[in-house]
Structures are given as C-alpha cells and as structure tokens.
Symmetry: C2
Subunit: 118 residues, 2 copies
C-alpha cells in the first residue's frame, strides 16, 4: 500500500502548458508518456479560468466533482455542466472547458478508455 496526496497544497500550475488558464493540476497517476497505461489527475479551475480549446490527445473523460462550468465539443456550442456530470471526448475531438465560478474535475485519459453509457 502506497499513499499520496492530491489535495490543493500539492497541486501545481504546469508551466509548459499554455492551454491552462488559472488551472492547477494534482496527478493521481504518472503521465502516459512516463509509462502509465492511463493518466488521471484532479484539475481545479479557478473562477474565470479555462482549459482552452484543443483536440483530445487521447480518449478522455472529464467528471465534475465540485462546482460548475461549461463544456463544448466539436460543435463549439458551450453547454452547462455541474458536479455529478461527466463528458467523454474521443481522441481528436476539439473541446474546451471553462468556469465562471470555479470547478474541480477528474480528467482520465488513455487508449482504450470506454465511457459508461446510460
């Protein structure tokens, strides 16, 4: 059993990541490029922040844990999203996540990730 924290005090703002505006990241896994089969992290978007529009590098699930915001996919049409709701973008889909009031989300990315279907 190995323990680690993903709380706000260990979250960081990735310097090389220009897509993130007022967003901190607290990893749960190693990144895929460092050998994990999937990567998972907690993203905390401050009020007015965003994960700017870009294509999904891998199949991705974003699950809102706290707060609310807006998400869009290929259409570019922003839709409200709040805690308890998730979205899946297949590899290559252009997407964006913004929040006027602040939002905490789990992001999962990996080859072969298949979302739950209701």
């Amino acid at each position: 059993m190995q323990r680690f924290s993903f709380d706000t005090d260990v979250a960081f703002e990735p310097r090389a990541e220009t897509l993130l505006e007022q967003v901190t990241v607290a990893p749960l896994t190693r990144p895929v490029h460092e050998g994990s089969s999937i990567q998972a992290a907690i993203f905390r978007i401050a009020p007015g922040g965003r994960i700017a529009r870009h294509p999904a590098g891998l199949p991705q699930i974003l699950a809102v844990l706290e707060g609310a915001g807006e998400v869009s996919g290929a259409s570019g049409v922003a839709e409200p999203i709040a805690a308890g709701e998730a979205v899946y973008w297949p590899e290559g889909e252009e997407h964006e996540t913004t929040s006027a009031t602040g939002l905490t989300a789990l992001i999962l990315e990996g080859d072969g990730l298949v979302p739950h279907q209701q």
Copy 2:
C-alpha cells in the same frame, strides 16, 4: 461529445458483489471485462459501510473525494484516510476500506496503471 451522470441518483448497489456493505457505485467507464482498458467509478460508502477485505484484481488507486475512513493493505493495519488523500494497491494485495462517518471515493483499476509518486 457524449454526456452522462455519476450523481447519487444513478448510483446502484451491485447485487452480485458481496464485498460491498452499504456501498453504491456510479461508473465513469465500462468495466474492464466489457472492453474498457481501465475502469473508473465513484464509490459512496454510507456511515458504517465497507469494501470488505479482498485481493486487488488489478492495480488499483482509491482517491478519497469526500469524507473520511480507514484503509489497510497487506499488513492489515488500518490507517485513517480523508478527502484529498489517495492510496495505491498493486495487483494481488489484500486490502480493505471502511468508513464510520461516510466516504466518497474514486476507484481506478487497470493493467499498467502507475500511481503518482511524491
């Protein structure tokens, strides 16, 4: 872009799963046995509930999102855990999660899952 809920109203108590006592599950992915490369779900343990002792079927990360409880690994020694803290159990490790006051956790399981290291 595909949307789905993982809120309390869609969570269910798996009937076939005798390890779960007062626990509901809200999947984020399809299960591994139905073709997803990893499986992720939100587990909500009611006060007094538990995920009973068993060996991890796959490498597993449990990340506590809300509340608090106790986790143990191969040693069987229960340690307190609370929101913002995570634990990794390698495949085969005996482990247990309990909560006297209630706990919501993300559980990730999959081959090749490598935890974040601090």
